[in-house]
């Protein structure tokens, strides 16, 4: 997959996962790298960016083993952004889908 393209999609993936419930960074990278091959380090930068933009808030939860975990929670702004990205995504794949289907050689 084109790396540029994948980075844009990552944003949508992160927001979608958080839509299902609060998660901490490692959990998010695990969930996403299970589905696609992606440098997890990049994901932390995506998280930071979305956090800076106010798409989620973060809070720390003490853990019995190891350091406190930083959980992310989607804000209303993030939720709206998610809806808008999701719509764009479906429009996009629908259009690509049309193009693929119309190819008579397939």
């Amino acid at each position: 997959m084109n790396p540029q393209f994948k980075k844009g999609v990552l944003e949508l993936c992160v927001l979608s996962l958080l839509k299902q419930g609060d998660k901490y960074g490692y959990e998010l990278t695990e969930a996403i790298s299970k589905q696609m091959s992606i440098a997890a380090g990049t994901l932390y930068l995506v998280l930071k960016r979305l956090n800076d933009e106010g798409y989620f808030t973060s809070y720390l939860v003490e853990s019995e083993s190891g350091p406190a975990r930083k959980y992310y929670r989607l804000t209303d702004k993030g939720s709206k952004h998610h809806t808008s990205l999701k719509n764009d995504w479906y429009t996009f794949i629908e259009q690509v889908d049309q193009l693929i289907k119309e190819n008579p050689n397939d």
Binding site: G8, E11, T42, P67
Partner: protein, 346 residues
């Protein structure tokens, strides 16, 4: 590489790049190692899954958050003065068509439209931010694509702009009525029109983009693979043109002219010149020069022809031939392999 070395390298590179919030990023990475270890992964495995530091940082530019405090522009209704700090405006329009004009209120405005509908400035499709002395406007990579609709980027600029850089892939561009120190345009296939531009230097590098430039003042440096150029009523000191198969139609006033081309044809009409070098492989070139009497013309050709005409007189330049007229103040050098060059001197 050990985990410590990995983290140190990351810290150094983040410091070098002066990335904000780098402590947060480092903490996230530390936590990743700790949690990963608890889940039974070795440091090596975790470093591999995080990715190489250069790979991660390379993505930084594309992921960068525009910091609200740094933003000088605000939607389409507020005007902000340019600070002196900005020396360059760098625009990446990708597939969006771009229009750059001078604003009526001397403010700086950036608007993005999709199918004619205004998109919020900070939408996922567009970011604008200042980093040191450069102001960036970027149409983001994912969605703005021809297949997801027509995007239009409208940029209104103050009267006197610093340097302007415009990059597009398939997006077309119109630059109209602007004064700018230097302009650099890079485009793959977008077609451009530049109308009424005041600049010290215009640099254009394109693959297949066609250009129309009318009333452009400033030195011109053009590199084109197959894009055609039509230039009218333009002037400056230097005109430098390199092309593979694009055609050039030039009507302007330049002192020093360099034309290097392979197979694209050239038709030029010039005023007083001081120096002209033409180097050509197989194209047809026709140059008409007004106001020149004192010339030294030398030519070399393998298989083509070089001819010069003046006042109805025919001056045939044979292979490696040389012709002198009056006091040779102006030097013209012509080289062709199999093309035909014709000079008309009035």
């Amino acid at each position: 590489m050990t985990k410590e070395k990995y983290m140190n390298t990351l810290r150094d590179r983040l410091n070098q790049l002066n990335i904000e919030g780098r402590e947060d990023i480092l903490n996230d990475f530390e936590a990743h190692f700790t949690l990963g270890k608890q889940n039974g992964h070795s440091d090596e495995e975790l470093m591999e899954s995080l990715g190489s530091i250069e790979e991660i940082l390379e993505s930084y530019e594309n992921l960068q958050s525009p910091n609200d405090e740094k933003i000088l522009i605000d939607g389409h209704d507020q005007k902000k003065e340019f600070t002196n700090k900005i020396t360059t405006i760098d625009i990446s329009a990708r597939h969006a068509d771009t229009k750059i004009t001078t604003s009526k209120d001397n403010g700086f405005h950036v608007d993005l439209y999709k199918e004619g509908r205004f998109l919020e400035r900070m939408s996922h499709a567009l970011i604008a931010y200042q980093e040191e002395d450069v102001f960036y406007v970027k149409v983001l990579p994912l969605f703005p694509h021809k297949s997801s609709g027509q995007y239009d980027l409208s940029i209104q600029v103050p009267h006197d702009l610093p340097n302007l850089i415009l990059n597009t892939s398939s997006g077309d561009g119109i630059l109209k009525n602007i004064t700018v120190q230097e302009i650099r345009i890079n485009s793959a296939s977008g077609d451009f029109r530049l109308l009424d531009i005041n600049s010290e230097r215009v640099d254009i590098e394109v693959a297949s983009s066609d250009f129309q430039l009318i009333d452009v003042r400033g030195d011109m440096y053009i590199r084109s693979a197959s894009g055609d150029f039509q230039i009218e009523q333009s002037n400056g000191e230097n005109f430098n043109y390199q092309s593979a198969s694009g055609d050039l139609k030039l009507n302007g006033d330049y002192e020093t002219i360099h034309l290097n081309n392979v197979s694209g044809d050239i038709n030029a009409q010039l005023k007083t010149i001081k120096q002209m070098h033409i180097s050509n492989v197989s194209a047809d070139i026709h140059v008409k020069i007004e106001n020149n009497n004192d010339l030294l013309i030398s030519s070399s050709t393998l298989n083509g022809t070089c001819e010069a005409y003046q006042f109805g007189k025919d001056l045939m330049l044979k292979q490696l031939g040389q012709v002198q007229m009056g006091e040779p103040k102006t030097q013209i050098k012509l080289k062709t392999i199999s093309g035909d060059i014709r000079l008309d001197l009035e």
